[in-house]
Amino acid sequence: MSHSLSQVQDQLVALLPRLRRFARSLTRHPADADDLVQTALERALMRLEQWQAGSRLDSWMFGIIHNAWIDEVRARRRRDRVMTAQEAGEHVADAASEAPIQRLSLQAAFEQLDEEQREAVLLVLVEGLSYKEAAGVLKVPIGTISSRIARGRESLEALLGGREGGLR
């Protein structure tokens, strides 16, 4: 590897604010987001040799966060099978409680999108990755990225309907 470990770790530290934002957009929950970032950092350092020096470290980390979240969601589904309906209800209320009924802030509107749209919108429209780079992170075809972004934009505009700023 042409980079020393400490150089890569410096880059990881510099990326943390953006990694936390991506994780937050997935989990919609501050503590879960930081747990996800921590899990991803540990995984990344365990298999640093899989990162191609010269390729984008941020994209690689986004991919690890994405995979770690898929694992966590699966683990939750398994656990949820034995949860009571009451508990399941609590979880739903958790996710929805931040959404004001009438006029949504951009963040609240964003959190209404489904997970696939949130990821694509965040990587491309917030992080500035190209469709191709985002497709690489999420391991889906480019056309899937562009359709998720198109649907995400459509939903956001609908949710933000009354907002000023030239939306129709």
Partner: protein, 263 residues
Amino acid sequence: MSISDDMLMAYADGEFDKPEFASERDEVEMAIASDSDLARRVERFRSLRGDLGSLYAEVVEEPVPERLLHAARVQPREAATVTNLEQARSTKKTSGAATSVAQTMAAAGKLRPWFAIAASLIVGVLVGHYALVSLGAGPIAVNGTRLVARFSLRQALSDQLTADQSHASAVQIGLSFRSKSGQYCRTFTLEQREPVSGLACLQGADWRIDTVALAETAGNAGTGYRPAGSALPAAVRAAVEDQMSGEPLDAQGEAQAKRAGWK
């Protein structure tokens, strides 16, 4: 010829900025030059993109928590030992003997005995009951050579008081006490299809899992629900007896310890 929304959107997102997309870019630019409606659509796409730049601005601007800075700086020595654990797991999968894991790990010579014991329990749990604990994800994660609490489990260990925990919570906290080395430790049960109980102690920023074992479900098989206060597995009871200094905390002591951040 009309231009699709997808084309306009890709243009607004800068997808046609590269030289190889010059013809697409020209096509869109010619179209919007002669159609103010298309131009407005592009403007709308760009304006939403601009607004999204401020999404979670507070997350980007606030200081990064210490535990994440620490996690980014972990030395690879610890990471290297995990490879042994993963090898141990694959050995385990093919051999089917729980003891072989502890032996493999002890042979690796890098793990303290208690960890080998805890890991053999975990792997036993893993193999015998496929859905319980997945290493590296879920509520119990591997960090270097240690097992740590994550997500719902970490949050429950830090925040949940036995006095006001709901029976419906996915994590049930049992005893809380100070260990002989002065850290706070708590027993927990993960309520899932096959419940798991364990002992976790706060070390630095992480709740480290000291021991974990299948919860004892005798007497309520099939209900999928363990009454509060049911007995901890023997391995966890032994770990508690081994570690506890003095008496377990009462409700007031627990609340005070939580307020002090379990420090």
